[in-house]
Assembly symmetry: C2
Homo-oligomer: 223 residues x 2
């Protein structure tokens, strides 16, 4: 896709299940990808595995180096640690499109539930901590299991992409990143003030998965 | 569907766009329906129109009489007035399955947004006000425009159905009510503590509708 020509994507938390799955799919699509991790050794190991598996251009770096080197930066880390990581990277991320994929969830014996986030959502927290970046929220509902399964060539889900109306270029870029994954469609789904429910809906998909033994995703109809 | 045999469905707020659309579809499916409204005259008028349009068994009553006469009661009223109505009907609704479809949303020049609800969600508010009823949350995302359009025979959406795990009969009943509408599938999607984000996601669908000139619904994939 022309919008992605020449761009390198950095995935912070790229050794976790969700991050790793996105790296795999983008590498397979021919997009240069940087795997970021707290541990640069683990990042290099994951990058080598995924480069080998996909034939793609994948390198591993510490999160801070990946953030500095990436043109677009995906934040795919546990919510616990999210604020601290972004606060430390505000300088490196200035001027860039930062894509927050974080789902602030708690778990107990009744399953998953949405955590209260002081800023409203992880995406709004990112926007508050990164005043010089353009924050977009996306990739909350894509099953990590499916992303990581090379036997599933096409991923049957839409990616809801949220961002401010005046950042249309950024949300269009993230829609293009979503659509670089075969089967996926990127759908603009509102401003960051409406990110909370998109993040929290992951708890419902976890309930669906438990009831139906599925790896549920979402499609938006009538588009 | 066997689960629905002999049941009469009451729709409180049955003269509003969403309620009216549900009445139309259930009447067309052969389910006896009571249209409830603050104004029994308007209820009777809507009921007569929809009985004529569908050939179904539709009667109009004041909300309180519909609540008393229905076996299953759908709450499809504006959020403003929701608590007051349910508080007044707690006796009539005791022992019944009450299906809350309410989306607590605000609107401003930037579109729709989720309102903060003291109990967490309209569905949890209903459960708190109706301790002797079984509250299920469902039908938040079905387009009223599509429901009310007789030229669209099949509705391309899933209905997310939420309720407590110990009320499986009730959530299964509501899934059957959803599936009485051609094209619709009822999908169990978690407990009421996860209803907020399902209600609030309607704000995102409104943003989708605005961007894409659509009447968006949702399908859950991999089921």
């Amino acid at each position: 896709m022309a919008a992605l020509d020449g761009l390198t994507v950095a995935v912070l938390g790229g050794t976790g299940p969700q991050g790793r799955g996105l790296v795999r799919r983008w590498a397979a699509a021919g997009i240069p990808v940087l795997v970021g991790s707290r541990d640069s050794g683990r990042a290099a190991e994951t990058a080598a595995e995924l480069a080998e598996a996909t034939g793609g251009d994948v390198r591993g770096l510490a999160n801070a180096d990946a953030a500095a080197a990436g043109d677009v930066v995906i934040v795919s880390v546990p919510y616990d640690g999210h604020a601290e990581l972004l606060r430390s990277l505000a300088g490196a991320l200035a001027g860039k499109v930062v894509v927050d994929c974080v789902n602030p969830l708690g778990f107990d014996q009744q399953g998953a539930y949405a955590l209260a986030v002081p800023d409203g959502s992880a995406a709004q927290e990112a926007a508050a901590l990164l005043p010089d970046s353009i924050v977009v929220a996306a990739f909350h509902h894509v099953s990590a299991v499916i992303l990581n399964d090379p036997a599933i060539p096409s991923v049957d889900t839409d990616v809801l992409v949220l961002g401010e109306g005046e950042h249309r270029d950024a949300t269009d870029l993230v829609r293009a990143l979503a659509e670089a994954i075969p089967g996926v469609r990127g759908v603009y789904a509102g401003r960051l003030r409406n990110a909370h429910q998109v993040e929290a809906l992951t708890a419902n998909l976890i309930a669906v998965n438990r009831r139906y033994k599925a790896h549920a995703g979402l499609r938006v109809t009538d588009l």
